[in-house]
């Protein structure tokens, strides 16, 4: 028997291996699907849909404000450091002061 012919016969015989389930399979599955698609969203689903993105946005906002404040604070500190430590620079015989 050629491989092609073998496979054709095997295909005919293997059809009976298809899973049929019980008599109530279609009705049971339809009921389960109907329950899922018509059920109003639970509190957890509502939170997952709205609260999480909201929390993520708030977290991003808080992070950016924190970073801005930190940067501003550091910039201010650096200016104060220069102001509180005057430096004299001698150039071409002249003396210049920085931070006075």
């Amino acid at each position: 028997m050629t491989e092609e012919k073998f496979f054709e016969r095997l295909r005919d015989d293997a059809r009976s291996l298809r899973y049929e389930g019980d008599d109530f399979l279609a009705a049971r599955l339809a009921a389960r699907v109907r329950d899922r698609i018509t059920r109003p969203p639970t509190v957890a689903q509502f939170l997952a849909a709205w609260a999480r993105p909201l929390a993520a946005s708030l977290a991003a906002l808080v992070l950016s404000v924190t970073l801005s404040l930190t940067w501003t604070q550091r910039h201010q500190d650096s200016n104060e450091t220069i102001a509180s430590n005057p430096i004299d620079i001698a150039m071409a015989g002249e003396l210049y002061g920085v931070g006075d």
Binding site: M1, F6, L10, L17, R18, Y19, L29, I37, T38
Partner: protein, 209 residues
């Protein structure tokens, strides 16, 4: 999964003249049911679930080999399809879409199982890596032999061979469902055919009838 669902909408164009397409064209109720669901009538979805449920569960069962998992996967596939029905193109067959969704969900389950069980089971035969098969559908010795031979195949060959031999899909349909090229499907089938012929030689070999 959203990519999968979106891609499903172009499936019919890839399968001109297929059995799926003919079946849908022969069933005007299917198109009407899809339109009704899209207009916000979930009750019309019952028609689609009832029409395809047995086949969808059978496809899932062939891959995961567990009746409870197969029903859960079928339910999940129908819910996902419902949630994305707005993206479904008018006039397209529902069958290829839902078959593709359930096949991918079932393959994910098999991959998930093998990831967790790989170390302890890596030395075992392929058939032993799966859960106990529920052989309710196997009614004869011949069918039982074929089932065992199919289960002894490596994973990809097993799934492709089941879809071809048991579910009776053609190469193009299997390629779409498994996100493989037709060449890859033919290659898996060719390897599976050789192994199956060896294992079932006493049943099919020898004579030229």
């Amino acid at each position: 999964m959203s990519v999968l669902l979106l891609e499903g909408s172009g499936l019919a164009a890839a399968l001109p003249g297929s059995e799926w397409e003919r079946l849908t064209q022969d069933d005007p109720f299917e198109g009407r049911a899809i339109e009704a669901v899209r207009r916000g009538d979930p009750a019309s979805y019952d028609y689609l679930v009832s029409k395809y449920s047995k086949r969808v569960v059978s496809i899932a069962w062939g891959i995961v080999r567990n009746a409870h998992d197969a029903e859960d996967l079928a339910q999940e596939a129908f819910v996902k399809a419902f949630q994305s029905i707005g993206r479904f193109k008018e006039g397209e067959p529902f069958g290829p879409w839902i078959y593709r969704i359930v096949t991918n969900l079932a393959l994910d389950v098999v991959k998930h199982r093998s990831r967790f069980r790989h170390e302890e089971l890596s030395e075992m035969e392929p058939a032993a890596r799966r859960d106990d098969a529920e052989l309710g559908a196997v009614t004869s010795e011949l069918a039982s032999r074929i089932d065992r031979a199919l289960e002894s195949l490596p994973e990809n060959q097993r799934v492709v061979a089941r879809l071809y031999l048991v579910e009776q899909f053609d190469h193009g349909e299997i390629a779409s469902m498994m996100n493989l090229s037709e060449g890859t499907v033919r290659s898996h089938l060719s390897l599976a055919r050789k192994k199956l012929k060896e294992q079932l030689a006493d049943l099919y070999g020898g004579s030229d009838d």
